[in-house]
Symmetry: C2
Subunit: 255 residues, 2 copies
């Protein structure tokens, strides 16, 4: 399936993912969010807290996709280097954003907690616009087509939800899942022919285990409902010819 909808990539920044300490929980959430607004999620990368790696990845991805999201590395500690790396990637200075300072001052009003380390969370590349953080005040930011968000899932999700019409999607991808009842290899050849007949429909084939038997979930994805219907009917007819009674589930079903 090829189309002209906006595309996106995710850059996950953090040693903790690569060391195995932390299981990433953001990629699947972002994938579902982007699918819901009609943006095609095309690539994800995980890099360590190393300046050159972050800069190179930001520049590679922002040149290739409509939107780039980053998660991680925007806290107050020495290992939080995302803002300065994104500034370097764009070739602009890192500046203290006045509105970000105001938000931190408001959040920490009446305490003596707003030290220099926390004020660093107000540093953004020059020309960036803020991304709201309704959880803990310290904002993310957007510069060009790059959206810099927190790594803590609860905060990242709130930031993403607040982006609203800063993200413009295309036609949504419609999804249907067929629980086939047969193993992949048994139907792979006829399935290949159907996939060739419906180039506008992406057909994924995934091993599944149902009632103790090896089966296959077929996931059909398309923007055109008629093409999706046609491919689904062809898949069902093919499976029935193999002597099974497949089940059609809306979306990803329980697959």
């Amino acid at each position: 399936m090829t189309d002209t909808a906006p595309t996106a990539a995710l850059l996950i920044i953090g040693n903790e993912i690569l060391s195995g300490r932390t299981q990433d929980a953001n990629m699947a959430h972002i994938a579902k969010y982007l699918a819901g607004i009609g943006v095609r999620f095309r690539e994800a990368r995980v890099v360590p807290d190393v300046e050159g790696e972050i800069i190179d990845a930001v520049n590679a991805l922002r040149a290739k996709y409509t939107y780039v999201f980053t998660t991680g590395g925007i806290g107050p500690t020495h290992d939080d280097i995302t803002a300065e790396c994104v500034a370097k990637a764009f070739g602009v200075p890192l500046v203290r954003h006045p509105e970000a300072v105001r938000r931190l001052e408001k959040h920490y009003a009446g305490t003596d907690m707003l030290n220099e380390a926390r004020l660093r969370m107000a540093n953004t590349p020059e020309g960036a616009s803020l991304i709201d953080n309704p959880v803990s005040a310290a904002p993310g930011f957007q510069i060009g087509n790059v959206f810099v968000m927190a790594g803590v899932p609860m905060i990242m999700q709130a930031m993403l939800a607040g982006l609203g019409d800063r993200l413009v999607g295309g036609p949504k991808v419609l999804v249907r899942t067929v629980a086939s009842g047969v193993p992949e290899g048994t139907m792979a050849d006829p399935l290949r022919a159907i996939a060739a007949d419906f180039p506008g429909v992406d057909i994924g084939s995934y091993p599944a285990f149902r009632q103790g038997k090896i089966s296959t979930s077929l996931v059909l994805r398309a923007t055109d409902p008629a093409a999706l219907d046609g491919a689904t009917e062809a898949v069902l007819a093919m499976l029935r010819s193999l002597g099974v009674e497949p089940q059609v589930l809306e979306g990803y079903g329980d697959s």
Copy 2:
């Protein structure tokens, strides 16, 4: 922390990860496995089932890291294109591997299941050596520094465990976690000074929630036990000067 130990990258291949249908379960497992044998896991990428994307990623990663692991796309269906893409990345033909055919014939002996689609799972780039699949026979393969494995976690884990001394590690990274009892921003400045004093120790700082309070887990990683001890002592002294009694946990602790 910079050292000369072997490095590795992971390439996750599959639309199902980028669509949000499937939560990747392989990255964290591979991260822990590599840490255990002293290989530095430095980058991960997720790409869709698109030939050009897979070829480009394989070539970028194999030039940069000691080892590259791929997961996904080695089944019998039309969307399983990893083997042919890796062959193209290496500029060699895709051939039917006789030993892989023998294993499939043995696995499916006495059935009529070994059709052309399943035999495709015996295709490897010319010159590849097989990676055992004790779960479902169809092997992975190694060519050069690239290890091609299944995407199904149970099969991937068995393949990885069987690589044995095909992977040579360096010194293991020793890990210690300090449950600090204070929020990140409160200690960020003194922590930055400690990180600068111990360039051989990687100090990660991660927000944590303990007994309803915002806290921080500090993760110290180093190959040199003396450096790790020194940095840990410095961190503990710094935290005590802030009036808290930090806890030291071996490894990643319960953080």
